[in-house]
Amino acid sequence: MAGLSQAKPRSLLDIMNRRRLYGLLTTFFIVVQLIWIGTPIVMTVLWSLVNPDYPWSFPSMFPEKLSWAQWVYVFKYTNIIRALETSYAIAPCAVLLSFLLSLPTAYVLGRKKIPGKKFFMMIVLLPIIMPGMVVALFLSRVFQAFGLAQSFLGLVLAHTLMGLPYMIRVLTTSFEAIPQDIIDAAENLGANTFVKIRDIFLPMVRPGLLAGMVFAFTTSIEEFNLTFIIGTPTFETIPTILYSFLGYNFIRTNASVVALIMMIPNIVMLFAVERFLKSDYLSASLGKL
């Protein structure tokens, strides 16, 4: 008590200084974030608008003249439309299949005590630990043997394989985080398995599920190696076009156009699901997010 009574009361000036400091720090971090994230995007936009007749070169800070010529070039000379259609047809199928396959796996890994759990958790990461081209080269042999190469189903399966590790890991963590008390309480109140899944498991894993879906979706949209080895020439996706400008033959202007084409739908999707990406699973289960 004595210690408390001796505590110096904060003056108005102290409070104002502290608030000013918080304000300054917040502004500083917002500006840093904007520069950190915004600069590459602004540079990409500017490079995509460089007029080929007026190259953006040293010592100019900004392009001398802007034009849509680089965009026209990409749409005229690449199969970008076909690639967009294929990419956005494969990704939702791969996400759905990843979800269906990972849900039971994640439930078992997250809720059940099984021997070798850590080993299984590591095994599911293998497709993303191994270099993409190595996975593609070996998988292509299997797909050729089963007649899955050059087929839409084959590509969906390949993309699912790359999305599964994210989906399983995120969902497993979500299942692990559900308090046993709530499940016990529901059982005491007579909830059957269906009710538990509907009212407890699914709402509580929803944020994790959405996060996993975002990862699986973006992984599918950005997947190059498997698509190129297994899918081309029958199928082309956006990254197969992007790599022609970004790989060995790096053409910054054209690569910027394709990168933006690939990025914009993903950003829109991220904003759309952002509000669900909250970690408060209890609120989620009660529908209060």
């Binding site: 190259p55 292509s140 050729q144 190129f228 022609s244 790989g247 060995y248 053409i251």
Partner: protein, 374 residues
């Protein structure tokens, strides 16, 4: 039912053998007819999407054969071809072969051939490129479709008197630290060409390597002098990660002089990735050149159409169109073009030939070991 299946199979084999022709001995007209019967060709490249897309449309218009052009990445293209090597029928019919991969693909016996004598115009196409591509013996298996040459690219606003001789280059690098760039030779041919020239200048020329199919240890014993030349100047040289990276860094002002491929530079200028004031030359100390080729895959589904596609790209009209669109120097020796980045006099006087492939591979590995990893 069993009898019917056997009969159907026998019929298929008969029809197949009737339609199949020996492409290496067949008359050109028969190959054209076979190509038309095949109806399509799948071609893999990693550059010039604009030119190849237009060429595909012209090809289809002329022959009624659909050309499916896939512009991928160089490494990915070859990985795919190698992955499909053991399939009875692959998905690639014909592909571009660059210097970087010519040895690997030739060693793997990936291509159908020799195809040189199949083409009616083969005699007027870069004769040396039919036999040797960047030091690798290709023996008529790979068809030249354009020639290119490495040279020194510089910014005339920052370099007034570019070096010609080895001594001048040394002095220039000493006077302008970090302003001279070349790419890691394991990542692109222009860097290989520069290291090749450094070896020639510091270890007694290239003559002694002629005709060797394997590295002779006594001939490379003094290459440590070349590696020392690099390590002594590591703080004065800029090593980039690819052919294009060198050009991009020059455009950004980081370096003012670099070694580059002429066709690459033209393409980068036309797409607004390099300033138009850039100048290029082959120094008197010499830099190597070569060209790219196309190969028909051994397990190609449409071999005749692939040959027709190569012949079409090699035609005078298409060689000129390619030069006008992307600045690639024709592979044909019976035509002249104007407006090249490198002068014809430069090419005649200062372009040098690569030493044999075994030395080139050895050079790349030793450079990584003795220069990059030091």
């Amino acid at each position: 039912m069993k009898k019917f299946v056997i009969l159907a199979l026998a019929l298929c084999v008969m029809v197949g053998s009737l339609s199949a022709i020996d492409l290496q001995t067949a008359k050109w007209d028969a190959i054209v007819a076979a190509a038309k019967a095949e109806g399509s060709v799948t071609f893999y490249a990693w550059y010039f999407p604009d030119y190849f897309k237009e060429a595909a449309a012209d090809f289809e218009k002329m022959y009624g054969v659909k050309a499916n052009v896939i512009i991928g990445d160089q490494t990915a293209n070859f990985n795919k071809a190698i992955a499909e090597k053991d399939m009875s029928t692959g998905t690639i019919d014909v592909m571009i072969v660059g210097g970087q991969w010519v040895k690997t693909t030739t060693d793997l016996n990936l291509f159908f051939g020799p195809i040189k004598n199949i083409f009616p115009d083969s005699a007027v196409l870069a004769p040396s490129l039919w036999e040797v591509q960047e030091g690798v013996l290709v023996k008529g298996y790979l068809a030249p479709f354009h020639r290119n040459q490495t040279g020194i690219l510089y910014d005339p606003q920052r370099v007034s008197n570019p070096p010609q001789t080895w001594a001048e280059l040394n002095a220039w690098i000493d006077a302008h630290p970090k302003e001279f760039g070349f790419n890691d030779p394991s990542k692109g041919g222009s860097g290989q060409s520069f290291v090749h020239t450094v070896i020639a200048q510091t270890t007694g020329g290239l003559e002694k390597y002629k005709g060797d199919s394997d590295v002779v240890p006594s001939k490379v014993a003094n290459w440590n002098i070349a590696w020392k030349w690099f390590t002594d100047r590591m703080d004065k040289l800029t090593i980039t990660v690819s052919n294009n990276d060198s050009i991009i860094r020059m455009n950004g002002g980081e370096i003012s002089m670099t070694v580059a491929w002429d066709d690459n530079v033209k393409d980068m200028i036309s797409k607004g990735n390099l300033f138009k004031r850039a100048k290029m030359y082959i120094p008197t100390m010499g830099l190597a050149g070569g060209g790219d080729t196309m190969g028909v895959l051994k397990n190609a589904k449409n071999k005749a159409a692939a040959l027709l596609w190569i012949n079409f790209i090699q035609s005078k009209e298409q060689q000129l169109k390619k030069f006008n669109m992307v600045g690639a120097y024709p592979a044909r020796t019976d035509m002249t073009v104007e407006g090249t980045l490198l002068s014809e006099a430069d090419r005649q006087k200062n372009a040098i030939a690569w030493f044999p492939a075994a030395y080139k591979n050895y050079m790349i590995n030793e450079f990584v070991k003795n220069v990059l990893m030091k």
